[in-house]
């Protein structure tokens, strides 16, 4: 078995009475691009800081390449870090910023010169070398920060919300660039974000975090299509969670209607929670299996689709994305007949 490049073993971090990270276990593999995804305050940044050494765990160990680095100060960990604010040194030029880590490693001047050139080429910023960071756009500053963190070929790259400070358009460009750079450098990367689209689009694996713990760890498709918990289903993409009672291994009664549910075998008589993505629901004309009636409560027209909020007979809310042009005119108060395909249901763990 190969050892993990970065491993957290039972890491806990308390800030006074607040537990930011709670007995966390995590192993990051060679060359992997791992996203720590979660709402603010879920402990994702603290987890990153534990790896970087800016924060020491209250309990537990941090290992890099199988070696215990708990208690080792950040300057001896040899990792590359890109900060949310970029943290470029305002009094140094772009080249000097990038050269900083090489100088601290007492590298020869010619070698520094060559490596800085290579790093700036990697992020396509060679012409800006003499400028100060403040003279560059946000996207360019971001790329300088990336070059500075990569130039000394660290074992691991840590990115703290690297795209949060950019506007939407730049963010998308930078996302592609990050992917390209990761692919060409092949460096093991841990990446903190609260943006699910970023995590889904970039990561090999996503660790969805909540209250200092990892709720689910897996590839993006698995996280999106088979969320293990209600929290993950809520946090990743829009979804509707329906409560019902299993009447057979593959059948659930919700709001008086019977739904055939694929996938997991259910225990008859158990209360279950089913999640379904709003884009999977369809409007139909006839009643039948897997069809529920719902009264429209709200409509949000969005061009390509309309977001419909509706309420089932028993008061549970359902979110439906209806593609435009809609098959029937939509109006608040009207009753819609919804088809919920059995294979689209995600059965949530009861927590």
């Amino acid at each position: 078995m190969t050892t993990a490049v970065v491993e957290l073993r039972g890491c806990t971090r308390d800030y006074g009475a607040v537990r930011a990270v709670d007995a966390l276990d995590l192993a990051v593999h060679e060359g992997e691009f791992l996203a720590l995804l979660g709402p603010s305050g879920c402990g994702k940044t603290t987890t990153l800081n534990l790896v970087a050494g800016f924060v020491e765990p209250t309990a537990g160990r941090v290992l890099i390449d199988g070696e215990d680095v708990t208690g080792r100060p950040p300057h001896l960990r040899g990792l590359g870090v890109v900060f949310q604010s970029y943290a470029l040194f305002p009094h140094l030029s772009v080249r000097e910023n990038v050269a900083f880590g090489l100088r601290e490693r007492r590298m020869a001047a010619a070698e520094i010169e060559r490596r800085v050139g290579d790093a700036l080429e990697l992020v396509r910023l060679e012409p800006a070398g003499r400028q100060r960071p403040s003279e560059l756009s946000g996207g360019m500053q971001q790329r300088v920060a990336l070059a500075r963190a990569l130039v000394y070929r660290p074992r691991v790259l840590l990115l703290d919300e690297p795209l949060a400070a950019l506007d939407k358009k730049l963010r998308e460009g930078m996302r592609d660039e990050l992917r390209t750079i990761h692919r060409s450098v092949g460096i093991t990367t841990i990446f903190v974000t609260h943006d699910q689209a970023e995590a889904l689009g970039l990561a090999d694996r996503i660790a969805v975090m909540n209250r200092g713990r990892i709720e689910q760890l897996g590839p993006p498709r698995e996280i999106y299509e088979r969320p293990a918990t209600r929290f993950v289903a809520d946090f990743i993409g829009a979804s509707t969670v329906l409560r019902g009672r299993a009447v057979a291994a593959d059948r659930v009664v919700v709001a008086g209607g019977t739904l055939h549910v694929g996938g997991r075998a259910l225990r008859a008589g158990a209360d279950v929670e089913l999640a379904i993505r709003p884009e999977r629901l369809r409007l139909v004309a006839a009643a039948g299996d897997n069809v529920l009636d719902a009264r429209v409560e709200g409509l949000v027209y969005q061009g390509a689709q309309t977001e419909v909020t509706a309420r089932l007979g028993d008061g549970q809310r359902v979110l439906v994305f209806v593609g435009e042009p809609a098959p029937v005119p939509l109006a608040v108060g009207q009753t819609l007949r919804l088809f919920l395909p059995g294979e689209a249901f995600m059965v949530l763990d009861d927590r």
Binding site: V81, Q84, A87, G101
Partner: protein
Amino acid sequence: MLRLAVVLLLAFMTLPTVVVVAVSFNPTAILSFPPAGLSLRWYANVLTYPQFQRAALNSVLVTGMAVALALPAGTLAALALERGRLRGRHVWAALFLSPLVVPGVAAGLGFLILAAALGLLRSRAVLVAAHVALVLPFVVRSVWVSVRNLDPALERAAASLGATPWRAFRRVTLPLLRPGLFAGLLFAVVVSLNEFVVSLFISNRVTEILPVAMFTYVVNYTDPTIAALSSLFIAATFVVVWLADRYLDLGRVFLRR
């Protein structure tokens, strides 16, 4: 209207200075205004009066030593006030800035009693110590502003790049504190050079600094010598402030975000 008000206000503020400078060129030995002619004889008198020479040297020594001690001490204090895990940060800050609100006479008397108790009344060290205490609030306040503007992520970034805490301080923190350090230096020099009340209590003929020597001179003689010396003093202060301001402006351009 507004412009006239500004002009009047400026005139009111600068009139005493103008009078002193004008009187310093008076050919006669009377402190009268307007001057009766133009002469440099009082300037010659200033430069050749032995006690002024001695006092000027004392001023340079005392200010130089006081500033050299207060600048690093004040910088450390500012860093501690902003970054340190201090309980009662506000109390500490108030203590550091308190010399600003203590009347000079009270402070002078305190230093006098202490110096006498320690048998240091003839020493220049007491003068230096008093000046350190008097300029420290200005240094702490100036540097503190720069420390506050410092993004703590910068030191983390330096650490992640392999810099030891000391190297991170040398290569990142200190250069970025430069505007605050220069402002603090400037304030400290000007305050120390002009300090009179406290110094009067704790200096003698041998150790007295220029403002004290000037006072002693005025008590004994009334001729435009003192106006000439004051004019030189004003000119020197002006040059220091002007140079520093130019340098500080450069510093700001340099740090523009």
